[in-house]
């Protein structure tokens, strides 16, 4: 009965047609690149939006040439209206959080490198993998379409708090169709991420090549594995929340809208909904989402650092355990977003302690990185510079967490720019540095060409200084009580702060412009860069054992066998100072952890 038990998951040779090769491709590498380009498109949108916001915050009545082309009502005479500011702000956050920070470090690099790291030929369910990208793409298109509906995208902030988001267009422009489009797009996005996790988890558990035990997986693969477990649980809570929100709009239900609300002197027809319900559901997703954005960055940075430090980490497993504890704790701390939102004050205290506890695994990770740096032989290149930058930014973002974990201090700092500084340093800028680091590191493998190092270093220096100029002053604004999500500062005590906002705006325009260097370097190198050798960084993990870029079946028909822990660097007696994971040579003094 061979035909009955035969496995059908087989490729019949590489695809040849353009559509199967580049568009509806089943190849995880193509899908990874598709995700990367999607993230690139989203980050450009997100960054342009942040420019527009920053210009408006520094110079409220400034005309931005051409803005009326985007929205006639939102920017009459090219001057942004208050509501349009909020709409652009919401879209900035949505594109960045969902379509950049979730897709780039996790879905893009993860798709490309996870099967390479496990020595597999492809993801276990290539069709689901393809659907994962195209579902996400549809979600992206739906979100973009909200710019073009009559009253524009929603202005509710990416947290989409009810009842502002649930009562409909009576609450303001974009709160009708805009919210429905937003929630639809996010619900579709959740499905896409589920398909992603559906591939990542079985790949790690079932498709490892011979000799590759779980502990022998590289750090970034561990990070993607942990992230996909988080994504699986977090996104499957966000999706029902979005469904309930959509029903409140289109089916007249009252899940989130309380009774007796009066807007524009009209009594709203809803009754009895719970305001805090949305916040609970949203933050149950929202906090793990922060770690979904940052944990892959930690994995990538570990990978890049280890390779460039020419030595293994002090302990590979401690970092893995710490990332795992971050993932578990992230579900127990979500209430710290709601300390002053009307939740039971005793619950605030309950949530504050796991929040404080989460500093411990984060600190361990940073200390292990720094301890490994001690006595190493650090190679400086664009990738390692961005990885070091990641550590610095993550520390800065981490210490502001000391403040925000405490309910009494949140009385001062909740919903101020201090919070904006905190999450930009951690989940935004640090994560972006992780993406840059990964890009410079893996570009040769992904596109078979080297990126320009000089441009990469210039990009790093200007970006690193730039982001500190942008985001450090956010702390000061927050300390002074500057409330976030304001489009202008008409409150008396905030008026002296406008100067700081102007400084930040200039820094943001500058740092944004610097990213053009990266874009130029990226696209130029993709087609014209120097051809890359198989293993330009003298790295040890499996992806460097195949050609750059890898053939369609990853290892050219070779059956990979792994003999070592992932980071046999600085090994004496080896050819060079490193031993590849799949090299059968036995070495004295290898660093295999027991």
């Amino acid at each position: 009965m061979h035909d009955m038990s035969a496995h059908a998951a087989v490729h019949h040779g590489p695809p040849t047609s353009f559509i199967r090769k580049y568009v509806f491709s089943l190849d995880h590498k193509v899908i990874g690149k598709q995700y990367y380009h999607l993230a690139l498109a989203a980050v450009i949108i997100g960054m342009v939006l942040s420019w527009l916001m920053r210009i408006h915050l520094g110079w409220t009545n400034a005309a931005i040439p051409g803005l009326h082309l985007l929205s006639r009502t939102g920017a009459p005479g090219d001057v942004m209206t208050p509501e349009y500011y909020l709409q652009l702000m919401t879209m900035h956050a949505t594109f960045m959080v969902f379509f950049v920070l979730t897709t780039a470090p996790f879905a893009a690099f993860g798709n490309f490198f996870l099967p390479l790291h496990t020595g597999a030929e492809d993801m276990p369910f290539p069709h689901f993998n393809m659907m994962s990208f195209w579902t996400t793409f549809v979600a992206f298109c739906v979100m973009v379409s909200s710019f073009f509906v009559s009253d524009g995208p929603t202005l509710g902030g990416w947290t989409m708090y009810a009842p502002l988001s649930a009562v409909g267009s009576v609450a303001g422009p974009g709160q009708g169709a805009g919210v429905v489009i937003w929630a639809t797009s996010i619900a579709i996005f959740c499905v896409g991420q589920l398909f992603g996790a559906l591939n990542f988890i079985p790949n790690v558990l079932d498709l490892r090549c011979k000799g590759l035990s779980m502990w022998r997986l590289p750090m970034s693969t561990w990070a993607w594995f942990i992230t996909s477990c988080m994504g699986l649980t977090a996104f499957s809570v966000l999706m029902p929340a979005c469904i309930l929100l959509i029903l409140d709009h289109v089916a007249g239900t009252s899940f989130f809208v309380a009774s007796n609300l009066v807007l524009n002197d009209q009594l709203q027809p809803h009754s009895g909904g719970s305001t805090l319900l949305w916040q609970h559901l949203f933050w149950f997703f929202g906090h793990p989402e922060v770690y979904i954005a940052i944990v892959p960055g930690m994995g990538i940075v570990s990978q890049v650092l280890v390779t460039n430090m020419r030595r293994p980490l002090l302990s590979h497993r401690v970092i893995i355990y710490s990332m795992g504890s971050l993932a578990i704790l992230s579900y127990m701390v979500y209430g710290h977003h709601m300390f002053v939102s009307g939740m039971n004050p005793a619950a605030s205290l309950y949530f504050s302690f796991p929040t404080l506890a989460i500093t411990i695994p984060s600190t361990i990770i940073v200390l292990i990185w720094m301890g490994s740096l001690y006595g190493s032989k650090l190679r400086i290149n664009s990738a390692s510079l961005f990885a070091l930058g990641f550590i610095s930014l993550f520390i800065t973002g981490g210490v502001s967490g000391f403040f925000l974990a405490q309910p009494p201090i949140q009385i001062l700092l909740h919903a101020t720019y201090f919070v904006v500084a905190h999450f930009h340093f951690t989940m935004a800028i640090a994560a972006i540095f992780g993406i840059f680091s990964g890009t410079y590191f893996w570009f040769p493998k992904m596109w078979g060409r080297m990126m320009n190092e000089t441009l990469g270093k210039i990009h790093f220096w200007l970006t690193f200084i730039g982001v500190y100029c942008i985001f450090m002053p956010f702390h000061y604004l927050g300390l002074a009580g500057n409330v976030r999500r304001y489009q202008a500062f008409v409150v008396d005590y905030m008026q002296p702060l406008v100067g700081v906002h102007k400084f930040i705006t200039v820094a943001a325009l500058f740092t944004g412009a610097v990213q053009l260097i990266f874009l130029y370097n990226f696209f130029y190198s993709k087609y014209r860069g120097e051809p890359a050798p198989d293993n330009p960084w003298e790295a040890t993990t499996l992806e460097w054992s195949t050609s750059s870029p890898p053939p369609w079946d990853n290892f050219g028909g070779r059956q990979m066998v792994v003999y070592h822990d992932p980071y046999q660097l600085g090994v004496e007696g080896a050819h060079g100072d490193y031993v590849m994971q799949d090299s059968p040579e036995q070495i004295k003094g290898a660093h295999d952890e027991p």
């Binding site: 009965m1 061979h2 035909d3 009955m4 038990s5 035969a6 496995h7 059908a8 998951a9 087989v10 490729h11 019949h12 040779g13 496990t118 020595g119 597999a120 030929e121 276990p124 996790a197 559906l198 591939n199 988890i201 079985p202 558990l205 079932d206 498709l207 490892r208 011979k210 000799g211 590759l212 035990s213 502990w215 022998r216 649980t233 499957s236 809570v237 999706m239 029902p240 929340a241 469904i243 309930l244 029903l247 089916a251 007249g252 239900t253 899940f255 009774s259 009754s271 009895g272 909904g273 719970s274 805090l276 319900l277 609970h280 559901l281 059956q559 990979m560 066998v561 003999y563 036995q586």
Partner: protein
């Protein structure tokens, strides 16, 4: 069963970690590169079995979220009106549980069938058709339940209880319909004699989970609404 197509290279004892921790080869061993389908032995669990647990975990989380929404919404509401569940739901429950039984019977048949005893008069497809029929009956029965509530004047937006009733039953019914799609896929594979045991097993986990989920939902609705 044939043995593996690619002979694995000989590995020194020291080079591999102890079994149990080991990656066992996975898909690489399953997919011969010449495109010829051949039965190959592999020690790694079939990814579809892991995959289905991932999928079920996501569904469980989704319904956990709906449940907590229901509990929180009930706690905040003064407009919670008791709702008498349509009697047909209990009949539907029996139908869905029966479909799990027929699926198990089909799975046995397939096991015997794959074991090599092929008997033209005793194909497993019959029980699978039975499962399909019972599944469709269940969805139709749910539809009748909605019609009954409608005739009582209870619509989606009437009160929170009816909102949750329609929401939970509809989302569950969608999952059941998805399962029926999967069943058709399985039957197609069986007809072409390319069905893998793991595919059928994964499908059966899904289908039994739908039954358990429905019993859970019924209890939840019965207690809370």
């Amino acid at each position: 069963m044939a043995t593996t197509v690619h002979e694995p290279p000989k590995i020194g004892e020291g080079g591999l970690p102890a079994l149990g921790h080991s990656g066992n080869g996975g898909l690489r061993n399953l997919g011969p590169l010449d495109g010829q389908l051949r039965a190959v032995r592999d020690h790694a669990p079939a990814p579809s079995k892991t995959g289905i647990w991932v999928f079920l975990a996501a569904i469980a989380m989704t319904f956990a979220a709906f449940t907590s929404a229901l509990v929180v919404r009930q706690g905040s509401a003064l407009d919670w009106r008791h709702l008498v569940l349509p009697q047909i739901l209990y009949f539907n429950t029996l139908i869905l549980l029966a479909s799990s039984v027929t699926l198990e019977l089909a799975r046995r048949k397939v096991a015997v069938f794959m074991g090599g005893i092929r008997n033209a008069n005793d194909t497993p497809t019959g029980w699978l058709y039975g499962t399909l029929f019972l599944g469709l009956t269940f969805v139709a029965g749910q539809y009748v339940a909605w019609l009954q509530l409608r005739s009582e004047g209870l619509y989606m937006a009437t009160n929170p209880n009816s909102s949750f009733f329609y929401l939970l039953t509809a989302i569950h019914a969608l999952h059941v319909l998805g399962g029926l799609g999967g069943l058709l896929y399985v039957m197609g594979k069986l007809n072409r004699l390319v069905l893998r045991r793991s595919t059928l097993d994964s499908f059966s986990y899904y289908w039994h989970f739908m039954g358990i989920l429905w019993v859970y939902l019924l209890l939840l609705l019965w207690m809370r609404l």
